[in-house]
């Protein structure tokens, strides 16, 4: 039994931890040590098993081999007639697969997840035992769902994980459910996610209708072999899948839940909204790259949505004052970059950015958690400052992660972001799918976004850690560095933020393409499409010369440094905070617009939500008036008809009875005349009687 045959166990271990913590520790109120042990075991063993399985798989089977472990047959429907007229058997099995991209995802999901579990031990130690157990139960449950998502070998199992992470996100965001705004944030996340899930479900149905199967190992080769045949279907499926990704990965227009999700505990934000759940959308798009490469339209849509989201979220992040909100909008923006990468055909770059983003964003969130912890729950950066000397470890790791996100070379984010921007430029230069000008525009947007990213991230650093503490005397006394359970993961992630990007060195710049380890690793998932031409990966690499490529590298670095310098100018030194103040006064409208996040939530409230509420109220009215009216109407009809019945009974029936009595009366009046005592009357009757008798006698005699 090889470890890669046990990949189904990787999600199950945290699930067992979740069940135990949820049903036993929570109910019985067991101590935190027990909860810790179970939770850390659950996620830790999953991490070790995951890494071990990956290593064995690479060594034994090689990265080109997709290892599928089929557990059992899950859904068996009958045969359905699919679009091309043939009969397809509905036979969905619960099976997991280990290939390059799922291996990569397992690699960092289990590791980062474990680190965050460790961090949470320190962060949540103030909670009650039962809440503590509940938290870890949910966290383990989340790990289970995410791992099912990345390890699933067909769209159905992926969807199970997809839904599961949505559920856990709701549970964890609304962890402090006693506070109304926390519970509301949880609901918002879930509902907005659901909208995306609807699109995803339609995509699953469409996939089945087109291909007759949901297994990745089956329909990807099918699509790749006949590109023109499946092109239009691929557009539909790709767009519908992307709807799901929009919801899950917080792109425009369904990003509104992510900033509000900061209501949950900070480790949750780190895990779910930085490293794992939100990246599920990107994972799904990269997994289905065959579908997208068949459909230029879908790819363009993905790129446009990603690019616009990247810059849109960055602009909002410029003026936010809550430390976590800045990071939240930063996440939305970076996700936009990832989709931009996928949209220009740089699927590897997109996943690479997922990986590096996991490291530095998790580090940033955990660092912010440390800061909040030190400031006694304060999250407003205007009340912080000069924390550098109180919490050095937090500061240095935070700084390193910020350098990474800004795209400074050697640090992790530089390689991935640069790759994405380069590929965008290349798509523009080579007129990919004849959308060249669109891709150029997106590249420009990406560059602008890079400036903004560097700017607002360093604004955060300067305002939080540099200068003088603005939070008041009393709070200053409580400032302290966090315990080792919290700083240790920070250090690990910080180191990874420095060196993690080196797996993706763009070796071809140095005429050594083989240096780009990650590209080589992920190559097998980019299946070759039928005949070359329209796939993003197959685009000519000669559209951009080597010199141009180097130039772009320097350009992006310069852009990042420009952003940092701007932030320094605004937020450091003697005139710190004065300059931005003046700028805000000069452009009050723009400032207000950004500060209020373009009033997106308000717009949604006024249109969609009000519309839905009014619509449902209208339906309720309809039900109350028409439907209930109809029901009441039948009741009235019944009353009326029974009234009529009563009348009928009274008049007709009784009338008939009375009629009989009247007949008797009349008849008796008649017959009375026979017996008046009038003798001659009797005589006449006798005569008639005799006549009748005779007549009857004659009749009988004649017969």
């Amino acid at each position: 039994m090889k470890l890669y045959d046990l990949i189904w166990l990787i999600p199950i271990l945290p699930l067992l931890g979740a069940i135990f913590n949820g049903l036993v520790s929570n109910r019985l109120g067991l101590s935190k040590s027990v909860t810790n042990a179970v939770a850390l075991l659950g996620s830790g063993l999953a991490w070790l098993l995951g890494w071990g399985a990956i290593v064995q798989w690479v060594l034994d089977l090689g990265i080109h081999h997709t290892h599928v472990v089929r557990l059992f047959s899950w859904i068996q429907g009958g045969s359905l007639r699919i679009l091309d007229g043939s009969l397809a058997e509905v036979d969905i099995s619960a099976s997991f697969q280990l290939d390059a991209v799922s291996a990569l995802m397992v690699f960092f999901v289990t590791f980062v997840g474990f680190l965050i579990h460790v961090y949470s031990v320190g962060y949540m130690h103030d909670e009650s035992d039962r809440a503590y157990a509940r938290y870890f139960s949910y966290l383990n449950l989340f790990m289970f769902s995410m791992l099912v998502l990345v390890l699933g070998s067909n769209l159905a199992v992926l969807f199970v994980g997809w839904e599961g992470v949505g559920l856990c996100s709701y549970l964890l965001i609304g962890f402090y459910f006693e506070k109304d705004w926390c519970a509301a944030a949880g609901m918002k996340a879930f509902i907005v996610n659901r909208i995306g899930d609807w699109g995803f479900l339609l995509a699953i149905f469409a996939t089945f209708m087109v291909f007759g199967t949901l297994e990745f190992t089956e329909f990807f080769p099918m699509a790749a072999a006949h590109p023109e045949h499946f092109a239009s279907a691929a557009t539909v499926i790709g767009l519908l899948l992307f709807v799901g990704a929009i919801g899950k990965s917080a792109q425009i227009p369904l990003y509104v839940w992510l900033p509000d999700a900061m209501a949950g505990p900070t480790p949750v934000s780190a895990l779910i909204h930085a490293a794992t759940m939100v990246t599920a959308g990107v994972y799904m798009v990269v997994r289905c790259n065959v579908i997208y490469r068949l459909s230029p339209t879908a790819m363009l849509v993905v790129a446009i949505v990603g690019g616009i989201t990247a810059i849109f979220a960055a602009t909002i992040g410029l003026v936010q004052n809550d430390i976590k909100k800045v990071l939240a909008y930063s996440t939305v923006s970076q996700l936009g970059y990832m989709f931009l990468g996928a949209g220009v055909g740089a699927f590897v770059a997109a996943i690479f950015h997922v990986l590096t983003h996991a490291f530095f964003k998790a580090c940033l969130f955990l660092g912010s958690g440390s800061v909040i912890h030190a400031c006694g729950g304060e999250q407003d950066i205007r009340k912080m400052g000069g924390l550098k000397k109180y919490m050095p470890t937090t500061y240095w790791t935070f700084l390193v992660a910020t350098l990474a996100i800004s795209g400074i070379p050697i640090f992790a984010g530089f390689f991935s972001k640069d790759e994405i921007l380069f590929k965008a430029f290349e798509a523009g230069a080579s007129d990919l799918n004849h959308f060249g000008s669109a891709y150029y525009t997106l590249w420009v947007l990406g560059m602008v976004g890079a400036v903004l990213t560097a700017f607002y991230m360093f604004r955060l650093v300067f305002m939080t850690f540099h200068g003088e503490f603005r939070g008041g005397e009393e709070a200053e006394h409580h400032l302290h560095e966090s315990p080792w359970t919290m700083t240790m993961p920070l250090v690990v992630l910080g180191v990874l933020s420095i060196f993690g990007g080196l797996v993706g060195i763009p070796g071809k710049l140095f005429h050594h393409p083989e240096w780009n380890l990650i590209e080589r690793f992920l190559e097998p998932i980019i299946l070759p499409i039928g005949h070359a031409a329209e796939g993003g990966h197959d685009v000519s690499h000669h559209a951009v010369s080597l010199g141009m490529e180097w130039g772009l590298v320097f350009l992006s670095v310069g852009v990042a440094i420009f952003g940092i310098w701007l932030a320094y100018r605004f937020y450091m030194g003697v005139e710190a905070l004065v300059r931005p103040q003046r700028l805000a006064e000069r452009f009050p409208l723009a400032h207000k617009l950004l500060l209020n996040k373009y009033w997106m939530d308000e717009i949604y409230d006024a249109t969609v939500i009000s519309g839905t509420v009014k619509g449902s109220r209208g339906l309720w009215e309809f039900d109350a008036r028409v439907v209930d009216g109809a029901v009441n109407g039948t009741a009235l009809t019944t009353v009326g008809s029974s009234f009529m019945s009563g009348i009928f009974d009274l008049r007709v029936v009784d009338g008939a009875v009375n009629l009989i009595a009247t007949c008797y009366d009349v008849a008796s009046r008649w017959f009375r005349k026979l017996q008046v005592g009038f003798a001659q009357g009797y005589a006449m009757v006798m005569v008639f009687g005799a006549a009748i008798l005779l007549a009857v006698y004659y009749l009988f005699k004649l017969n």
């Binding site: 009375r672 005349k673 008046v676 005592g677 003798a679 001659q680």
Partner: protein
């Protein structure tokens, strides 16, 4: 020539006349007289057939009829006397003490 038919016809006519008179007349005395008429009709019939059949029994029966007729006439006339004494009228319709 004159067969039984003639006599029977005559008898029938007399009987019917008497019957009608019995039913129709208001005066009680006249009613009784109609009754006598009916008896005579019967007698005619009896005698006629007695002759035709050569059986004297018919004549004997006719004697009985006459006798009974006489008795009945006596009783009837007694009734008239009583009725006159009681109601002071011979109109039959007033000899009716029943209601209705």
């Amino acid at each position: 020539m004159i067969g039984a038919t003639h006599y029977v016809a005559l008898s029938l006519i007399l009987l019917c006349i008497g019957l009608v008179g019995l039913m129709v007349r208001r005066n009680f005395i006249t009613v009784l007289m109609s009754l006598e008429l009916m008896f005579n009709a019967v007698n005619i019939n009896l005698i006629a057939f007695s002759f035709r059949l050569g059986d004297l029994a018919g004549q004997v029966l006719a004697i009985f009829v006459i006798t009974i007729a006489a008795a009945e006439a006596a009783i009837g006339l007694g009734l008239i006397i009583a009725l006159v004494r009681l109601k002071d009228t011979v109109a039959l319709e007033e000899a009716d003490e029943m209601g209705g």
